[in-house]
Amino acid sequence: MKAFTVLDGIVAPMDRANVDTDMIIPKQFLKSIKRSGFGPNLFDELRYLDEGQPGRDNSQRPLNPSFPLNQPRYQGAEILLARENFGCGSSREHAPWALEDYGFSCVIAPSFADIFFNNCFKNGILPIVLPAAKVAELFAAMYADEGYKLKIDLPAQTVITPAGESIPFEVDEFRKHCLVNGLDDIGLTLQDADDIRAYESKLMTTSPWLFREHIA
C-alpha cells in the first residue's frame, strides 16, 4: 500500500448527503476481477449522460457538464469534500479503488458509513471526519476560490486552509500508523500467529462443532 503523510491538493465537491457506493461505482463495473482501472467510471451515472458499460471507451461518452469533476477548475483534484453519511450501502471495495484510481487520496465529510470508512484505510485513502459546520465552511471557501487547495498533514493530524487555519482531526492510532508507513495489515496480523493458534486450539475444545469438515 502506498504511504500517506502530507498532501497538498486541489479540493473537489460532492455536495449531497448519503452518497452511496452504488453511486461511487455502479454495479456493472464490479464484474472486473482486477483492482485497478475503475477511475474512469468513478461516479459514472452522475459524470456521464449515458449508461456506462465495462470495456467501453469512456473518452467517447457524453459528459454531464454540470458535474464538478467535469469542470476545468476541479481537474487534478486529490481531496474530495463531501456531506453526511458518505459511502453508505454496499461494502464494495471497488468504491475506494475507484476514488484512488481517479486520483483522490483524501475524503473530508461530517460522517462516513462504517464499511466504506474502513475500506479507505486499506487503500491509502484518508477519510477525515470534521464537524458539519466546519465542512460547510470549507464548501463555501472552496466554491468562492477557484483552484482551492487544502494541506492535509496526517502525522500532525491537521487540515490547513489557504488562509492558514489549522483544523485538527481525529484518527485511530493503528490506522494512522499503517497509512503513514504504507503497511499491509496481513503481515502485521501474522506476527500474532501464535496467539491465533492458541485461541484456535482452545476453541477446538470448547466448541468442537465449529471445526467439523464440510460435507462436500
Partner: protein, 478 residues
Amino acid sequence: MAGQDKKGQTLYDKLWAAHLVKERDDGTALLYIDRHLVHEVTSPQAFEGLRLAGRSPWRVTANLATPDHNVPTEAVERSGGVEAIADEVSRIQVRTLDENCSEFGITEFSINDVRQGIVHVVGPEQGATLPGMTVVCGDSHTATHGALGALAHGIGTSEVEHVLATQCLIQKKSKNMLVRVDGELGPGVTAKDVVLAIIGKIGTAGGTGYAIEFGGEVIRKLSMEGRMTICNMAIEGGARVGMVAVDDITLDYVNGRPFAPSAAEWDEAVKYWRTLHSDDDAVFDATVVLNGADILPQVTWGTSPEMVLPINGIVPSPNDYTDPAKRSGCERALEYMGLKAGQAITDIKLDRVFIGSCTNSRIEDLREAAAVVRGKKVAANVKEALVVPGSGLVKKQAEAEGLDKIFIEAGLLWREPGCSMCLAMNADKLGAGEHCASTSNRNFEGRQGFGGRTHLVSPAMAAAAAVAGHFVDVRDWI
C-alpha cells in the same frame, strides 16, 4: 467469570468477548472469524492478493463459497452452466470463483448445484452459519446471519483477503443499540414492514457505529425467515451488525441442517447457545422503541431506504423539511423518481415487480406472495413480474408446494436462484424511468438498472401491487 460486580452484558458484548484473540495497546482488537462466506464479486482480488504474497488460507474449511450476484436466472441460459453465461464479463467472474475455490480447496456450491443460491440464504439454510459464530462475507448484507444469534457483518475485499490469510479481522468494538418492537403486528404486516419502519425512524445513518440487537415481543414471535429479513437490512440503518437473541425458534431452525452439530455435540452446543442473549441488566448505549400495532405496510417513495411511508401516506414536499440537506435530498429524489409532492402512494403505477433478494427470497416470503396472487392475474400495465427464489433448495421446496404454478398461472415469471434484479448485475434489470415494486433492500439511484425507480416493499405488498398495477394496501386483500 465469578465476579459479583460484573455488569450485565449484551449479546454483542458476549459474542465479541468470545472471539477476542487479543487486544492491542493501540485500542484495536484481533477478532477470530468462525465462518467466511465467499461470492464471485468481492473475492477475485483477494485470492489474487494471496497468490501474489504466496499465502494460503489459514483454515480452509472455515470458508464456503457460492456464485450469486452474476448468475443468470433464465432456465435456458442457466442450464448450460458457467460456460453458457451470455455476458462475457460475468462469465469470467463466475469462472474465476470456481478456479479460485478449486485452487485453494474451498468448498463451493457452484452454479447448478441445488445448494447454490444467494450466499445469505445458503449459509443459514445449510447450518453453515450457526448461533454464536462470527460470520463475515464481502457483502454488506452479511448482518442477515445475526438473526441466528451470530456476530455477522460485511467486509471489503482487503478484509476478505485478511480473513482468508489469518482467520482474523482487526476490529474496534461498536457501541450497543437495542431496537425493541413491542406488542403485536396487525394482519398483513410483515418483518419487511417492521425493518422499513425502523429505518424510517432512525434514518439511514442512525445505526452508524452501533451493533443493533433487535428485540421485543414482535421480534420474539417472528420466524427465523422474518428475523433474517430484519437483520439483513441493519446496514440500511447504518449498522454493520444486526442480531437477535437465541431462543427455541432459533434452535428449531438450526436442528438437523447439514452443517449443524448433531447428537452429543448438539447438546453441548445448545447449552452454550442458550446463553446467547443480553442479560437483564445489560446496558445499551442507545435504545429505540417501536410499537408493532402502529406499523402499517410500508413503501419507499425516494432514493434512500429512510424515504419510506406507510401505504396510506402521501409523497412529501421539499417544503416539509427544515434541514437544507433533507430538503435538497427530497427535491432530487422526487425528480429522480418522477413523483409529485402530495401524490398518494397508492397512485404510483408499476412497470415491473421483483420478488427475491437476500432480504425476501426464502420459502416463507414466497408463500406470502403466492397467497396474494393465487387465482389472480398480473395487471396489464406490469411488463414483467419476476419471482427469484433465494437458493436451489428454496426453489425445490416452493415447487413441491406448488407455489411455482400459482405464480406462473398468475402471469409471474418463475426463475432460477440468484441475486438477480436486486442489483442488476445479471440480465434482470429495470429500464430508465420504470417503477418497480421490489422486495429487495436498496432503492438507490440506478441500483436496479440505469434510471430505474425502485420502491421497497414486503413480498405480500409486491404481489398485491403486481395484480393491481399500482400500490394497494395488502390488508384489504387478506
